[in-house]
Structure formats: C-alpha cells, structure tokens
C-alpha cells in the first residue's frame, strides 16, 4: 500500500544544508503496523511528516512516497488534499493543542465527515457518536469542549477524528508520550484493536521501544536520519543485531530480569548533531565495538536474518557479537 523509496529531507541553514532524513526506504501493507523508534532529533518525526508533505516550505524533500502506486511527493495539491482527507490520517502528540478549544469535540469530529462524505448533519452526528463510543468516550459527551476532557480522553478523541473518514493508513507520532502508564496502555490497546478489526495500516513513531514492541509487528530503528535496523518487532528486541538497537532495548529493562537489576544500561556520549556527520557509520563514535571499517566505509542495510536488516558491518562479518 505504501512504499517509501530513498526519502531524504534537508533544511537550509546558515551553515549549509542539514539533512534530517538521509535516505529512508520501507514498505507497508494494508493492516500492517510499523513502529519507528529513535531518539529526539533522529529524524523520525520529520520523516513521518514528510510522507504527507506536512513539513514547512523550507524543507527540501527528495525520493518517492508511493501510496497505492501514486507518488505523493509529486502529486498535485488537490490530489494530496484528497489523500489527506480520506486515505491517510495523522495523530499528533499533544492532543490539547491539536484540538480547537472553542468548538465542541462532536463538531470537530463531524467536520471532515461533512466535508468529505457529503452526508447530512444528522448522519454525520450519528457517525461521530459511533466513533466516540468506539474509542471509549461516551457519545453523550459530544457536546463538550476539549478542556472538559482528561489528557487520555483527548487522545482518544484525536484517534476518533483520525478514523472519521475511514482511512487506510494512520500515522501516529508519539500518540501516548504525554500520558500515564495506565492510560498509555489503554490507548495502545485501543489502537491495536482498531487496527485488527478494520485492517488499517499504522505507522507509529515513538522514542519508547517498549511501547512499539507492544503495538507493532515490525520495527524500524532510526539513528541520525537513517534506518539502522529493521525487522519483526519481537525478534528485533530479543536479538538485536545493531549495537544501537541493543542499547535502546537495554534502556527499557524487563522487570524480573536479573541482568538489569541494579544495573542500568545506557550509551555514553550524546546523539549526534546532524550537521556534523562525516563519513562512515554515524553511530561509530558511541559504539563499543567500532573498528576502523566503521569510521570510513559507507553503511547500508545488510540482510541480517529472515525479514531483517541491519546497517552494521559486524552483520557482514557474519557473527552476531
């Protein structure tokens, strides 16, 4: 359904162009869930926003984003708008700022339905009520304003809005980050159920590998604007091949695992600045197993198992360290 080929995004800055996304490719089938993990500044949100050309005009995007075979990067605005309305929806983090504070949530859910489905107000209200119930908000609260809901409920409403026009694909950018553990679990469960029932494809972006592992079949780990490892979620976390994935996985310990008891694990150093990237592996400066080849050679995603790939030279050497 969605195929992304060699996507790059660069911003012009005073010191020349900085590439936030440096050649990302992946595919997503109907009903599949893909989790994109990475730290702040790794380009994951930029990548997601560029899929629907939601970036500011200063960003330069190259590559291809094929949705049902049609390149969204070169599509005309009218066509793109149609896709944004009814085929792909986006759920942002921070539901409070994404909802209009002076309109009732019912009206806000109805708006795209009225515009897009060309149905009467009554039918739209009915559908809005259905959607609210589906995300676990009582339909009688459709007349309430955003501030009357809790953070978790607002995020549910955002999901209801995203579902309003029966999309084929949902792009969710940190949908649960600001929420509590318990509420976060509820929202993830809700999203999971919806995906399973309706066969919607989901791209979910998060810094939290544990959240993605719960929700997604496949994972892509991004570092410094590139996918460094991809594969089935469970395998990727249980047996990471890229040292960065390994570090991320260890940062979220499994409770009860004696190895992580009183032994927090992290990575020395800081995430790289995109502007100062040189040759070789972007992760090499923080990598404990970096050799000379890592600092000079070009990295690409090499196959590292069935349905898996990792951008680490150690994969080529054939040994999982």
């Amino acid at each position: 359904m969605l195929e992304v080929r060699d996507l790059t995004v660069s911003y012009g800055t005073r010191d020349g162009a900085a590439q936030a996304v440096r050649g990302v490719s992946f595919t997503l089938e109907r009903g599949q869930t893909l989790g994109v993990a990475g730290e702040s500044g790794c380009g994951k949100s930029t990548m997601a926003l560029s899929l629907l050309r939601l970036l500011p005009a200063t960003a330069r995007v190259t590559g291809q984003v094929l949705f049902e075979g049609e390149d969204l990067l070169t599509a005309r605005w009218a066509r793109l708008r149609a896709v944004r309305w009814n085929a792909v929806s986006v759920v942002f983090q921070g539901a409070m700022s994404a909802l209009n504070p002076v309109r009732t949530v019912g009206d806000q859910i109805c708006e795209p339905i009225l515009l897009h489905d060309r149905v009467g107000v009554k039918a739209a209200r009915g559908r809005a009520a259905e959607l609210l119930e589906a995300v676990g908000v009582p339909a009688r609260r459709a007349g309430d304003y955003p501030h009357e809901f809790s953070g978790g409920q607002r995020q549910r409403i955002m999901i209801a809005m995203a579902l309003a026009c029966r999309p084929d694909l949902i792009v969710a950018d940190e949908p649960t980050t600001a929420l509590d553990v318990m509420v976060q679990a509820q929202i993830l469960r809700l999203l999971g159920d919806l995906v399973r029932e309706s066969g919607i494809g989901v791209i979910m972006i998060s810094h939290d590998l544990a959240v993605l592992a719960q929700m997604c079949e496949r994972l892509a780990v991004m570092y410094a604007g590139r996918i460094v490892e991809t594969g089935p979620a469970k395998e990727l976390i249980a047996d990471p091949r890229h040292p960065y994935t390994r570090a991320l996985a260890r940062a979220f310990p499994t409770i009860g695992d004696p190895a992580s008891r009183l032994a927090p694990e992290g990575l020395p150093g800081d995430p790289p600045r995109i502007a100062d990237l040189g040759d070789g592996c972007a992760f090499a400066p923080r990598c404990e197993s970096a050799g000379p080849a890592c600092r000079t050679g070009a990295m690409e995603l090499w196959p590292s198992g069935e349905g898996r790939a990792a951008a680490c030279v150690h994969v080529l050497e054939g040994g999982a360290s």
Binding site: Q186, I255, L267
Partner: protein, 297 residues
C-alpha cells in the same frame, strides 16, 4: 538505625484536594527508594514536602530523627537536595554552567572549588570545558548532569529526584541512572527517586513504595513488590508496563474526591462489597484488605 529522611503521617491539602493523604515513608542510609505512581497520585507533592518546598498540613518530615524546622530550612538544604524532571527548565537560561553549579556553595558561603569536582563527579569531564557554557548549548543529558552537579556541590546526604530521566532520551537515561547508582555506591548517598516507571525502580532502587491517590498502598523491597505484588493496583501497573493484561479502566482519580472505603475500589478488578466501606490500613507493607492474613504474618 534511624532513617536519614522520613515522613510520618504526612498530609498535604491544596484547597479541597488532599494531594498527600497520610503517608509514612523512610529512606535509610545509603539506600535508594523508588516512589512509584501515576500522575496526580501526589508523588511530586510528597517529594516537595520532603525537601521543604511545601509545608505539610499535618504530619512531619524528619531528618536523622529530628523534625524539620522550617525556620532553619537553609541549613536543611545542605543535607537534602532536589533534582527536577526537566533539566532544560531547571537551569536558568541566563546562567553559565559555572554559575549554576556554584549557586549552592555561594548561597551557603562555601568555597567554589567545589564546582569543578562536582562537575567531574557528575560525569562532565573535563569540567573546564563546560564552565563557560550556557544551558542551551548542552544536550538534555548534559543539562541533567549540571543539575545533579549543582546538588552535589552541597555534598548532601539525601537526594530527592523527581522523574530524573523522564524527559531524557532512552540511550541517555541509563547513563543518568548509573550516575545516581554510583553516588550511592561510592559516596554512600541516599536517594528517593520519584517515577512513573517501574522499570526504573527495577534498575536502581533497593526498595519501592507504590502510591495511589495520596497514599502509599504497597511498599517493600524491589524484589518483593515487583515480582510478588500483593496490591491489585501494583499488579495492574506491572501488567500495564509489560502490556500483558487488560489495563485498568477509567482515569486517574481526582484527589478532591477521594472515594469512601478503599480509595482504589472503583477501579479495582478484584473488589468485593466490603471494599466500599473499609479503608484498609497499611499492614506489613500493603494496604488491601483482600491480602490474605497468612501472607501478612
């Protein structure tokens, strides 16, 4: 042995809301205690009361057995320090690293040769490279190290850390936790770490206290509480963290309307009729009247 820091019968009310509603907690010498709960459970208010930022409505805070004297707060601050969640906001944007770390020693009339050693202690090496920098020139992890160095410069015996890694990147998180663990192992410092993350408790804490709606509902060693949880709320949190079971329904409740009986009963999956009438006391580290008596004894 007298605990280094403790709260006895602590109650904090803001208007009608009882954010903290009768809490006993203690941190012993060289011990890391994790205080775990959802947002709005009162854990941050409790942390602020322990460092003397909020005066409790009832109950008291004790340092090495002596009740906290609010007229001599400044002296107390030498011993008990706070680390905040958002290091970017916790640093004055117009102060250099040197000024930020020297703040404590300056206020207490101590020599500022503590600045470089505190920075090095907090993992910013060589310290000289950081002295002249402003917060916005540092990464999140480095900012948090500056905040920690600022606390260390006073050589406190207890650190209260409110969500110290919640706003940091995953790969940096572990490094900051290592640092806190190292302070305990090498300097014998005690710490109370407030968090919503049970994994963090597993990573660094010796004991854990689970807080729900202003009260501690379960406490014990990390192994006891996280591997053999006895309170239904602890079980629910563990399940939510691992994604294995259906999460609790409903929203975190409102401290202005604490339910009668057991405060957890409206959301409790295993409630009985009695739960609506009996407010269970904390017995042997758990506040649930369903916990079998034989388990308690």
């Amino acid at each position: 042995m007298t605990p280094v820091l403790e709260a006895r019968g602590l109650e904090i009310a803001f208007g009608r809301a009882r954010a903290v509603d009768g809490v006993d907690i203690e941190v012993r010498q060289g011990e890391i205690v994790a205080l775990v709960g959802e947002s709005g459970c009162g854990k941050s208010s409790l942390a602020r009361a322990l460092v003397g930022l909020v005066r409790p409505t009832r109950g008291e805070v004790r340092y090495r057995g002596a009740p906290l004297d609010y007229r001599r707060l400044k002296e107390y601050r030498r011993h008990v320090q706070l680390i905040l969640q958002d290091p970017g906001g916790a640093l004055n944007p117009r102060q250099t690293v040197r000024a930020a770390v020297a703040e404590g020693p300056r206020l207490h009339g101590l020599k500022d040769d503590r600045v470089t050693s505190a920075l090095a202690r907090a993992g910013l090496r060589p310290p000289e490279d950081y002295l002249g920098r402003y917060p916005h020139e540092l990464s999140g992890g480095q900012q948090q190290r500056v905040v920690i160095a600022g606390a260390l410069a006073l050589e406190p015996s207890v650190i209260v850390a409110d969500e110290p890694v919640a706003s940091l990147d995953a790969s940096v998180r572990g490094e900051i936790l290592k640092l806190i663990l190292g302070l305990r192992d090498e300097l014998g410092m005690s710490a109370l770490v407030v968090t919503h993350d049970l994994g963090l408790a597993w990573n660094i804490a010796d004991r854990v206290a689970v807080m729900y709606l202003g009260r501690i509902v379960e406490s014990g060693t990390v192994e006891e509480v996280l591997i053999r949880p006895r309170h239904p709320y602890t079980r629910a949190m563990l399940a939510a963290a691992s994604g294995t079971a259906t999460p609790l329904q409903g929203e975190p409740p409102d401290p202005a309307r604490i339910p009668a009986g057991c405060r957890f009963h409206p959301r409790c999956p295993s409630r009985t009729d009695e739960c609506g009438t009996i407010d269970p006391p904390v017995l042997a580290g758990v506040a649930c009247h369903l916990t079998p008596l034989e388990e308690i004894s």
